[in-house]
């Protein structure tokens, strides 16, 4: 009996090490959440993936090739993901593709719409995709990125978002899928909005999110911190933040601070490998070599801003760093803040260990099951 394409011939992932794994080599079939980036052709899917996960310069995405196959990549951080970038020309609900293998795993489906173009065709495809994917896997999270909004004025942005939201909910209601909740985000690769949007998507996929938020809340309350973000260093996506509302400018400044600090630290770090000057920006190369090693877990940095706020960065572990905005008055109790941070770090490590232990236990159970079956 002929097997379908992806099932029989899924040739493994192209693994891009985003900062070292946690030592467990999981195959594709494990329970890692999967993020699918779909959309019409030329909507910006590959650019998003490159900018966010490979730290590519946004202007360099002009020279990206058209994607012809599904590019599967690994995103390793506090939590491990797969990110799949789809070519826009193919219809993946064709019977020759194994829709179960593609859409069946736990994760999120991000649909990218080009806001600068006429989006009616995109909407048709969106409705089509959502209805069919929901049929295959009702547990998928659906997100819509209204992309390339950097050239639009503010009113136009809001207008577009409202329009798309309206049409989509109407369409889905016609199909009887009111309970499908879609998240809408206005994004652009030329500013931080894409990172913010991605952060929100990933947060939906982290089961430990409430715990992390709680920890951050406690930390902030007891240390006089105004806003804290727990960042993944390589991709600049924040995993968690405390409960106060997120202001996009604070997010921007925190993520830029991480860039600056780690770029400066590169100057003074040991040269472990040679860099070649390729045509593309060097940030791509640096993304592939782990920029975080042991020093990241002990990193600490402080930047005083003009508005009497202080940006305080503390490395948590290999992948994560805490960046907080503290009013400069509160910084007088520096030692207290550091002590609180140590507790926080310990708590994060415990959560991390718990996750690892549960995976190990699950692996053992699988092995035991295999033994029994033999």
């Amino acid at each position: 009996m002929p097997q379908s394409l992806d099932d029989q011939y899924s040739l493994g992932d192209s693994i891009v090490d985003m900062g070292g794994g946690d030592g467990i080599d999981d195959p594709v079939q494990d329970n890692r959440p999967r993020i699918l980036i779909m959309g019409l052709r030329r909507s910006g899917k590959s650019s998003i993936q490159k900018v966010v996960f490979h730290s590519m310069n946004a202007n360099d995405t002009l020279f990206l090739e058209s994607t012809n196959i599904i590019i599967k990549e690994d995103f390793q951080s506090f939590i491990d993901f797969h990110v799949w970038d789809f070519p826009g020309q193919l219809d993946f609900f064709d019977p020759t593709f194994d829709t179960n293998a593609i859409f069946g795993e736990y994760g999120a489906l991000i649909f990218v719409i080009d806001a600068q173009d006429d989006y009616m065709e995109a909407l048709t495809r969106l409705h089509d995709t959502v209805t069919r994917a929901y049929r295959v896997n009702p547990n998928l999270f659906f997100e819509v990125f209204i992309h390339k909004v950097d050239a639009l004025s503010d009113e136009y942005k809001i207008e577009t978002q409202r329009d798309i939201h309206q049409r989509t909910t109407d369409e889905l209601a016609d199909f009887g899928l009111e309970k499908v909740s879609l998240g809408f985000h206005l994004t652009s690769i030329y500013d931080r909005s894409i990172f913010e949007a991605f952060s929100k998507v990933i947060q939906k996929l982290i089961p430990q999110l409430p715990t992390l938020e709680n920890l951050l809340n406690i930390l902030c309350a007891n240390s006089g911190i105004e806003k804290a973000f727990l960042f993944d260093i390589n991709s600049k996506i924040y995993i968690a933040t405390d409960s106060s509302p997120v202001d996009i400018q604070s997010y921007e400044i925190c993520s830029e601070m991480i860039d600056v600090i780690f770029d400066i630290s590169e100057i003074y770090s040991k040269r472990t490998s040679t860099r070649n000057d390729s045509g593309m920006s060097q940030s791509i190369k640096s993304a592939i070599q782990p920029t975080t090693d042991e020093t990241a877990s002990d990193a600490s940095s402080l930047v005083r801003l003009h508005n009497d706020m202080v940006l305080y960065l503390k490395g948590v572990n290999r992948f994560l760093a805490l960046v907080c905005l503290i009013p400069s008055d509160n910084l007088e109790k520096h030692g207290l803040i550091d002590y609180n941070f140590q507790c926080f770090k310990q708590a994060i490590t415990d959560v991390f260990d718990l996750k690892r232990l549960s995976i190990e236990r699950r692996l053992e159970e699988d092995i035991d099951d295999d033994d029994i079956s033999i």
């Binding site: 002929p2 097997q3 394409l5 992806d6 029989q8 011939y9 040739l11 192209s14 052709r41 030329r42 202007n59 002009l62 020279f63 990206l64 090739e65 058209s66 012809n68 196959i69 599904i70 590019i71 070519p87 020309q89 193919l90 219809d91 064709d94 019977p95 020759t96 600068q116 173009d117 050239a151």
Partner: protein
């Protein structure tokens, strides 16, 4: 060999699409296929007249996505279009405009039964489905290595097996400045495809590199032209390629369809050349390997399992079944007609493998001692080949050979006698002086035990056996044999000199001395005598 070769492309608009296919047809099929096509006597044949094409356009408007089964969707964009130069008809200019060229037909010069038809899609809907499937898989699912060009083999029983060679072609207008193309070779026979892998990959690679070099030339030229234009007039908007901002750049590019291969490579008759190449590949691939059925043929086992005669030359495998066990009895099973295959033994090593150690040693012993060798078989080629092998062992001037004799000739006439199986050997001959070889059995002659082999080793036979026992390449063994022959020939020359020096009537002591001097055993002396030509004396 039934196969389809085709060129496929990952189009910006349509995704994976088939550009061109070539298929081989045998004569009786072509006539059925030609309905709806007026087959002209030339190579290019025209399509239906123009009034039917609006119907096709109607189909085009209804179909948005190319469907996998059923009728193929017509070309919807320029980049995957199958564009041909207008037909050159001398004289009447009115006729060509009404016709649209649909494909090519090439007749095979050497085999009038075969024609190669080249067109956008294969005609049968099932084949179309298979080609389209292969196209999608080749460009969008399988890859030999991420982003790299190269061959991949995949497939299944339902849609056939595909060898796909992917490559990129540079294009100034394309995203990332390059586009993906792939050559596909589709056939149902997986084993044949795997066997043809090296040939096909090398041919596809040559074809791809030639296309790429041509495209690179055009690319460089365009780049140079653009730069020189930019130097001259910084602000002028001359042509579609020079934008004034990244947005306009992108916007402009997305509206324009990409160029077809004809424009990209600047070769007007690109598809003609492609069809010619594909037809050649089909023909050469079919010719390169041929399959033969072996009817009821089995492995020949001679002696015991250790000396199993599995000859590398398949010709020998096609002998009728012949079983010979260690005791010497033979049982002849059904002999099927071997008229179409000629059985030969090409090398003495094969003879060694076939006969087995014991029989071979006996053969050599008898032969080297000067007994007459009679090779008897119903196949003259077989006889000739064995005779040739034996003849090579001996210096030619002392060895008389008679192949293909009509009747028996005594030892005085010839040393090696090749006879047909039907010819009888007269009974009055002394059996110890002849050795009869019928296929793989030796009769008469002397045995090693007769000659007193138990006390000392027969050096000649041992050395020869030793060389042939080696499991090394044939060339190496041939060299060793040559060395062996030369060594013994030089010993023979020395012996000849010794005899000529007046030692004809030598006694036992002298014999022992000469044997020691020549570094052989006494038992080898008859052999040396034969080699030096004195055995007849």
């Amino acid at each position: 060999m039934n196969a389809i070769v085709s060129l496929v492309h990952f189009c910006e608009v349509d995704g994976p699409s088939v550009i061109f296919c070539t298929q081989a047809f045998h004569k009786k099929v072509v006539e059925d296929y030609a309905d709806g096509l007026s087959v002209s006597s030339g190579e290019i044949f025209p399509d239906r007249p123009l009034n039917e094409s609006p119907r096709e356009n109607g189909i085009q408007a209804n179909r948005k996505e190319p469907s996998n089964i059923g009728r193929p969707a017509p070309a919807s964009c320029a980049s995957c279009a199958f564009v041909l130069p207008p037909m050159n008809t001398s004289g009447d200019a009115k006729v060509p405009s009404a016709y649209e060229i649909k494909g090519f037909r090439t007749d095979d010069d050497e085999n009038p039964m075969v024609t190669y038809i080249g067109s956008r899609y294969p005609q049968h809907s099932q084949l179309y489905a298979a080609v389209r499937q292969a196209c999608v898989r080749s460009l969008s699912c399988e890859f030999c290595c991420q982003g790299r060009e190269g061959p991949v083999l995949f497939g299944d029983d339902k849609d056939g097996y595909v060898l796909s060679y992917m490559f990129k072609i540079k294009d100034n207008n394309a995203r990332g400045f390059q586009r993906w193309y792939s050559f596909i070779f589709l056939m149902t026979d997986r084993v044949y495809l795997v066997a043809s892998w090296p040939f096909l990959v090398s041919k596809f690679r040559t074809l791809a590199t030639s296309l790429q070099s041509r495209a690179n030339q055009v690319f460089e030229k365009e780049n140079a032209a653009r730069e020189s234009r930019q130097d001259d007039s910084f602000l002028s908007r001359s042509g579609p390629i020079s934008p004034t901002s990244p947005d306009l750049f992108l916007r402009r590019r997305s509206k324009q369809p990409l160029r077809s291969l004809v424009d990209l490579l600047k070769t007007k008759d690109f598809y003609v050349l492609l069809h010619a190449n594909f037809s050649w590949i089909l023909k050469a691939c079919g010719r390169r390997l041929q399959e033969r059925h072996l009817n009821d043929q089995k492995l020949v086992i001679v002696g015991n399992i250790d000396s199993c005669a599995f000859s590398q030359k398949t010709k020998l495998l096609l002998d009728p079944i012949y079983c010979y066990d260690a005791k010497g009895t033979n049982s002849n099973s059904s002999s099927c007609s071997t008229d179409e295959f000629d059985t030969r033994i090409d090398h003495i090593k094969d003879l060694y493998d076939l006969l087995g150690v014991q029989t071979f040693r006996k053969l050599v012993l008898n032969f080297a001692r000067g007994n007459q060798m009679i090779i008897r078989s119903s196949e003259p080629t077989f006889v000739k080949s064995v005779v040739t092998i034996l003849k090579d062992l001996m210096p030619s001037e002392y060895c008389e050979v008679l192949e293909d004799a009509n009747e028996y000739q005594p030892l005085t006439e010839c040393n090696i006698l090749g006879l047909d199986e039907t010819i009888k050997i007269p009974d009055e001959i002394d059996k110890s002086t002849i050795c009869l070889a019928t296929k793989f059995d030796l009769k008469f002659g002397v045995e090693e035990s007769d000659v007193g082999i138990n006390d000392m080793d027969n050096l000649y036979i041992n050395q020869l056996s030793g060389i042939l026992k080696l499991n090394l390449q044939i060339e190496f063994i041939s060299i060793r044999l040559l060395i062996f022959r030369e060594q013994w020939s030089s010993k023979a020359k020395q012996y000849r000199r010794f005899i000529m020096g007046g030692n004809e009537n030598c006694n036992l002591d002298k014999e022992r001395e000469i044997a020691k001097a020549l570094d052989i055993n006494e038992i080898d002396l008859p052999i040396i005598r034969f080699l030096s030509g004195y055995s007849k004396i």
